[in-house]
Amino acid sequence: MINIKSLLIILFTVFINFSVLSDEADKVTTTSSDFETTYNEDEIFDPIEPINRVIFGFNNVADKIILEPVAKGYRKLPSPIQSGINNFLSNLRAPLVVVNQLLQGQGKNAAETTGRFVVNTTAGVLGLVDVADKIGLEEKEEDYGQTLAIWGVGDGFYVVLPIFGPSNLRDSAGLFLTYSTDPFNAYAVREGEGWVVPLRTATNAVDKRSKIIAEVNALRNNSVDYYAAVRSSYYQNRKAAIQNIDDSELTPLPLISVEFE
């Protein structure tokens, strides 16, 4: 059994260790290299920021009082129903994904997405079940904004669209092209069932929003500038989608010193 003297010495040793560590943490030194970064995130071109902030404020309120509560309700549906809706919407997007993959010269991916569409529409009961994923045909997303970026079209400036949220000039043009060339939307309008288009858009928004409830709340509740945080998140997310690279390779490593932690 350890005696009092030994215990005091052990406590003293541990205390000294922690004191040294906590003291080290407070010693903040820096060199100029700590601020070097190849990432140009600070340089997002946002010339209409005051207008964007107003629209962002409106969208934020709409999200809080409509989209988030609906998304939370949607999350309470049985998971096969949620998966079914997600798969169905994803399958409807497939023809335009194929078009964009072809426009980007991704022949193999276009063939796979075509295969996914055929398999899921037939064996997957109109896309409700993602059978294709189970046979190795992985889902890949491409849109007109990404195609324009691959063709060398720049971002343009940052813009917040009412209801649709963060975007930029190029991606807004891409969004317009998506709505105007989507074969299912065109068919619905031609058949006099135009109401299907906003319903599809709204369902898609709820489905997507339901997957990021925790992340959006974490960002909204803990940001000193929520607008800037969303703007940065949008650009990082789009950059990853355009470059089709994996998360861990995406952002150039910030040069963070841990020597004085």
């Binding site: 960002l219 940065s232 950059k239 861990s248 952002t251 490593l253």
Partner: protein
């Protein structure tokens, strides 16, 4: 003699170098500590956050991240302002991470992949979070220093926490002529608001 072994063991625990391939094991233990804190319903929300804040402060490179996030405004700030800013930022970081992890507390996760970037001496550990309707990929960037590991960034669905914070703080600092002391006022107020949300 027995007592000397005990003293030696205490020092050894602090100094034992962890192998690079052990970064994932270390991270899993730390993530489990945080997630377990959420699952323990006997702990009050305040105690839970305090526990998580301690864990985050011990395992994240809070001071290094805070400097990176402050950008060029760091140079012109006084020593006292910097010290205050680092303290506030560490709490801000803890509140952010705690808030993100709270959302994952009842979901299953698995560390699926670990890569080591030899050039930058950084381990990148992929964590896949499973729920009924899909998976979410979170990448932890971990760096070793003085024989222990520090998390230097967290990437959720392609979005880096550190890069987002830098952009966010830069936007705020532009409005106050890069004065870090004025940012501290905003940061203190935001921390109080975030703390109130997470503990109520």
């Amino acid at each position: 003699m027995n007592f000397l072994y005990k003293i030696f063991f205490i020092f050894l625990l602090n100094a034992t170098p962890l192998l690079a391939d052990e970064a994932s094991d270390w991270l899993k233990k730390e993530i489990d500590n945080i997630l377990d804190a959420y699952k323990d319903t006997s702990v009050s929300k305040v105690d839970r956050f305090n526990l998580i804040e301690d864990s985050i402060n011990n395992n994240f490179a809070g001071a290094g991240i805070s400097k990176f996030v402050a950008g060029k405004s760091w140079f012109s700030a006084s020593k006292e302002t910097k010290k205050e800013y680092v303290k506030l930022f560490k709490r801000h970081l803890a509140l952010n991470i705690a808030s993100i992890m709270q959302g994952y507390s009842y979901q299953e996760y698995v560390l699926i992949n670990s890569k080591y970037d030899e050039k930058n001496k950084v381990s990148m550990i992929d964590m896949e979070i499973h729920n009924d309707t899909g998976n979410l990929l979170v990448t932890w960037r971990v760096k070793k220093s003085k024989d222990r590991y520090f998390v230097i960034d967290l990437i959720v669905a392609d979005i880096s926490l550190v890069v987002t914070k830098r952009s966010e703080f830069n936007s705020k600092l532009k409005k106050v002529d890069q004065k870090l002391n004025e940012l501290n006022v905003v940061l203190r107020s935001q921390n109080e608001s975030s703390y109130s949300i997470i503990t109520n």
